[in-house]
Subunit: 122 residues, 2 copies
């Protein structure tokens, strides 16, 4: 399978890597995948959405719990949720009228592994 095909068939946000930054240099391919997760988190609204979802009772939040927190339109919130979803950070499930979001731990686990400080020489 070519890298191109692999990128197409793997689920969005499946990084499948990485060693701590300080252990060995990231490959170009690993860096491309991982940068998507960091980029998705590199926005204050998306970070707050992520923390609102992660810290909500039961570990999931309805869109209706999220929109009132921000002075932003529904479509703007939906756009940010889509970016988080495409980065593999959250998943949504429609139940009745609303979509409920929950944090997917795998992408956060990748971030956590990469920034592990065990081998950072200070």
């Amino acid at each position: 399978m070519s890298n191109q095909e692999r990128l197409l068939v793997e689920p969005a946000g499946s990084v499948g890597c990485c060693e701590p930054l300080a252990r060995e240099p990231l490959s170009a391919a690993q860096a491309v995948e991982l940068a998507k997760v960091f980029k998705a988190m590199g926005d204050p609204v998306r970070l707050r959405l992520l923390s609102l979802i992660a810290s909500h009772d039961g570990g999931e939040a309805c869109v209706c719990d999220l929109t009132g927190v921000f002075d932003l339109t529904g479509p703007t919130i939906s756009h940010h949720l889509k970016v988080l979803r495409e980065a593999g950070l959250i998943a949504g499930e429609r139940r009745g009228t609303w979509v409920y979001y929950r944090v997917l731990p795998d992408a956060l686990r990748q971030v956590s592994a990469v920034v592990s400080l065990d081998e950072i020489r200070t």
Copy 2:
């Protein structure tokens, strides 16, 4: 020390927060500061630069060690290093002809704390 030199060696971007995402929602101000760090890491070249610096012998790398790795111009590499420096992720020190960079663990520590999975309910 000139302002120019001071900018080169002093870390910028002190986040000074945060609780794990799943413990309590980030405040707007915390999210703004933290997003700067994630945004700086949300680029494949910058992630690779960070890992090249962190994993280099002695925990520091000369600009001369970094430029040959990428098919990018010196000014482009310098721009990416500046973004990492302004986010408080690296610090540079001029010694003779070259600037040597080292990873600052505080910003990575903030990222690590925020993505801590201990309280993520899956």
